[in-house]
Amino acid sequence: MADLKPERPVSFDCDRLRLAGMLGEPTDPARAAGAVALIHGWAGYRIGPHRMFVHAARRLNEAGFHTLRFDLRGRGDSEGDGPTVGLDEMIADAVAAAEFLKSTTGASRIVLAGLCSGANVAIGAATLRHDVKELALWSVLPFQPEAGAAQRARRARHYLRQYLLKALQWRSWKRLLRGESSLRGAARAMAGEAVPMREGRNLKDSARNLMEAFGAWRGRALFITGALDPEGMAGREVFEPFCRARKIPARFQLVEGATHSYYAPAHEREVIETTLDWLQTKEP
């Protein structure tokens, strides 16, 4: 195996903010297969949980891909006021990242890979860039308009599997199923915004109808979900029928035993290898 070249620190601008990143090159330039931008989750930064993005980038470099791990604005080492950054700003950053990758590497094949809300960002960015035809979506969440009911139901079912059924009072069942878990909306977030808001807007929501935009997107997508991740499974339950209905070529992969961030090294490896395998094939 050829020695890995070290990634090099790079920066690019979006909305007059400098975003920081690490650019990785293919180990063997003769095998150049395209370029992948890795998009982190809401509160993370470019290394990803347990350096998953560092590992993914190295593996992709070995397989012939350029990679860009970057920090969304207000995160990591990028400029920006973190608590005020919303989904649409993150999408703009991802669009800029794709452009930076394309212009820096000359790659015509640009893939966006994202984890958790980073996967949602990837979808949003792909709908704005016609040259992004492949999305690798790890633990994608439902978009905000679809999120409430799906996530509440999924979360309830996850924990109910763990509880003894008789321990849950009927009135709690009814409340959960009716979606009256209203406290979550008010109290979610351990410190900071209950639902991150700015000037009356939910930061995790978009000004666009992203599901509609995704429905019109022409590309293929890989959805990877941890079987023990209630939030990710809620995402899968939204996107699987949606992709079928809109005829979006998509592969849905479940990682057995995995939680939202794929903590077990074996699960992380499975996500990375599944993604690589998918990138190296033409089929959904």
């Binding site: 979360r155 924990y159 003894l164 709690s172 406290l183 979550r184 979610r188």
Partner: protein, 88 residues
């Protein structure tokens, strides 16, 4: 200590330690804390440490059961059992 105040103490502890943006009064005795408040493992750990410090009890490793942490009432019932065990 009157029984009722254990539930209240639990709720106050949760609001303080988990930096919840609600008051203890907004949490019901039967509020499903994982589904409704988004409590995760880090938060449960904080709750455990808070309960141990506040009530002078100790969680055994075999006592980490999800039913215990379901609601403020289930947590308070656990605390009561532990306190009775200490006194007995």
């Amino acid at each position: 200590m009157p029984d009722k105040s254990i539930e209240q103490t639990v709720k106050e502890l949760m609001v303080e330690r988990l930096f919840l943006k609600i008051t203890p009064e907004q949490i019901g005795d039967e509020t499903e804390i994982m589904e409704e408040l988004g409590v995760d493992s880090v938060s449960v750990f904080e709750i455990v440490v808070g309960l141990e410090e506040t009530f002078g009890i100790s969680f055994g490793d075999d006592e980490f059961k999800i039913e215990t942490f379901r609601t403020p009432k289930s947590i308070a019932d656990y605390v009561r059992r532990k306190l009775e065990g200490k006194q007995g």
